[in-house]
């Protein structure tokens, strides 16, 4: 019997630098599978964020640009405006996208730029060592919120799908997660659908993926999955928020 579970062509052979139990790796694989299945690797350009996924270009086997912190949507805009035939996606964390890059993401979505955003929401700043993110939960501890996030001082966590869905421009906006196999299959379908819409030049496409950061949450990978399901999913409900149809 031949092998039935192969590494996607769009993923390289490199070992990732992600922590054990981190869900970034699963999300990379889903993106790679979608790109393989749609046979777009030769015309895809990824845009890496500043965050834990900054080195993601080492793990994919197609062209990549590396953005400044938060600016990936502006770079993707540049790419798609001058080369509409290319397929572009930004891969961004919650600090990158919902804090420093809030202006760029809203305006790119509102212009209906024909690229895809994979938004990895792990409710914390991973790369810089666990500081508070705009998506950090009320009471959740972070190195810059040592007593837990005080929403009286810092406001409530930002729900990006809901925020972007309020724009009148046509878009595909969905929130998914990879906490369990059943969720992973759905997330895969959503990511593929986003790229399909992009190929059809239909609309801006945004897939939020509720993710984990066991290292900076100070949890084992198993505990992190459970905490995310119990704490994050009720606040960040899964589902399609907007479709271009």
């Amino acid at each position: 019997m031949g092998k039935t579970f192969l590494k996607p062509e769009a993923l390289s052979n490199a070992y990732t630098h992600y922590c054990p139990g981190c869900t970034h790796g699963i999300i990379h694989r889903l993106v790679a599978e979608a790109i393989d299945e749609l046979e777009i690797r030769g015309r895809t350009v990824g845009i890496a964020p500043v965050g834990c996924a900054v080195l993601s270009y080492n793990y994919f086997t197609f062209d990549f640009q590396e953005a400044a912190h938060g600016r990936a949507p502006a770079m993707a805009t540049g790419i798609k405006r001058v080369r509409p035939d290319l397929i572009a996606f930004t891969y961004q964390g919650d600090g990158d996208l919902a804090s420093i890059g809030m202006g760029e993401i809203i305006h790119a979505a509102n212009r209906g730029e024909k690229f895809t955003t994979i938004f990895v929401n792990n409710a914390i700043y991973g790369m810089t060592g666990g500081q508070m993110a705009p998506t950090t939960m009320p009471g959740q501890k972070a190195t810059t919120a040592p007593f837990g996030r005080d929403v009286k001082e810092t406001g409530m966590p930002i729900k990006m799908c809901e925020l972007l869905s309020s724009l009148e421009t046509k878009a595909y906006i969905t929130r998914q997660t990879v906490l369990k196999p059943k969720y992973i299959n759905k997330a895969k379908k959503a990511i593929k659908k986003a790229f399909e819409y992009q190929i059809e030049k239909k609309c801006y496409t945004f897939v939020e993926v509720v993710s984990t950061c066991p290292t900076n949450w100070g949890m084992t990978p198993q505990k992190a999955l459970k905490w995310a399901e119990d704490t994050l999913l009720p606040y960040y409900p899964l589902g399609e928020f907007k479709t271009p149809e």
């Binding site: 350009v45 845009i47 890496a48 540049g78 790419i79 001058v82 760029e104």
Partner: protein, 356 residues
């Protein structure tokens, strides 16, 4: 080709198109918004890209994304906007992408004013953004030169894989002058397949290209910076451009001045000549690389008593001139930076004072 009468800002927009740059991103700011207004009409006629971004920060990265695909791309702005783009300029330099930035300077610091200024000399030539990078900076003295330099900027940016800046004061953008456009350039930048993220299919390659500025290994980052430095050294050998004015005479004073200011200085030199006072001028056309040897040699001329930097700022180029003259002659500054251009009479009085 016949001469046409054009406003500087519009001529810069037209020059970009004739240089084969069909991609333009910008955010409005006085005194250069006419470039965007001109190209908003003109780009659709040539199937080009025009996009008004949401901020200069975003525009800087639209330029980066487009440039990293190997496409010719330009933005124009004025001082506060260039401050916001400076982060992107640092990244674009670090990632070695060609792109053209036009700064039609206004007074500063802060909101400053909307009248002409040369207050961004240091920002343009010494950094602005972080890290060890340099832009190639050209300073036109009128609409004709603004056109020529804009058209030259694209091949130079591609030759060095580095951003090029056209640094003009507000007058260059606002005044109308007859211009003659040089021949159109080739549409396609060549020789980009080894670095650009233009899609593997486009370049029929199985190897991915990565455009990035992060090099975590200290040796690799040092080597990368040495590569950048070697490009800047090559610019110093090959790209210095300047004009010498009345330097055959036995001038007693050497002016160093650029842009609109240098044109006033030419009037000064002509007037003083009639009065029997000889003044020479070196006009840098490239501010980086700076015409170091030309300034040094001109300052060393026996007849020359003093060197004066005349600028519409508080003495920014002065630092470069002092560096070049190496103490051989006394160097001083004269200028204004509120938005008024110093008049020929004011400069003549100052030069007479220097000769006392």
């Amino acid at each position: 080709m016949a001469k046409v009468l054009m406003k500087g800002n519009e001529a810069i927009g037209e020059a970009a198109i004739r240089a084969g740059c069909l991609n333009y991103f910008a955010y409005p700011i006085t005194p250069q918004s006419e470039v965007a207004e001109y190209l908003a009409k003109r780009m659709p006629e040539v199937n080009g890209v025009f996009l008004q971004g949401e901020s200069e920060v975003a525009v800087g990265y639209m330029i980066f994304g487009a440039a990293a695909c190997g496409e010719r791309v330009m933005t124009t702005s004025s001082s506060p906007g260039i401050s916001l783009m400076s982060e992107a300029i640092s990244y674009i330099s670090g990632a070695r992408c060609p792109a053209v930035f036009v700064n039609i300077m206004r007074g500063g610091p802060g909101l400053g004013g909307i009248l002409p200024s040369q207050g961004d000399y240091l920002q343009a030539t010494k950094g602005g953004g972080h890290g060890d990078y340099k832009m190639l900076v050209m300073a036109p003295d009128g609409v004709q030169e603004a056109v020529e330099m804009t058209m030259l900027a694209f091949p130079l940016a591609e030759k060095y894989r580095n951003p090029v800046m056209i640094l003009g004061d507000g007058l260059i953008g606002q005044m109308m002058e007859p211009v003659e456009f040089p021949n159109n350039l080739n549409k396609e930048p060549t020789n980009k397949d080894h670095w650009a993220t233009n899609g593997m299919d486009t370049r029929k390659s199985k190897e991915k290209n990565i455009v990035k500025s992060l090099f975590l290994d200290p040796k690799v980052l040092n080597d990368h910076n040495l590569t950048l430095k070697s490009q800047y050294e090559k610019m110093k050998k090959q790209e210095i451009r300047f004009e010498a004015y009345n330097t055959d005479s036995d001038y007693q004073i050497l002016i160093v001045s650029y842009g609109t200011m240098s044109r006033v200085c030419k009037t000064v030199i002509d007037n003083l000549k009639i009065q029997g006072i000889e003044v020479g001028m070196i006009r840098p056309k490239t501010l980086f690389p700076f015409p170091e040897k030309a300034v040094y040699d001109a300052a060393c001329k026996k007849s020359c008593k003093k060197v004066v930097s005349i600028e519409m700022n508080m003495g920014q180029m002065l630092e470069d001139i002092e560096r070049c003259v190496k103490g051989k002659k006394e160097v001083s500054w004269y200028g204004k930076c509120g938005g008024d251009v110093p008049t020929p009479e004011e400069i003549i009085n100052h030069i007479k004072l220097l000769l006392k």
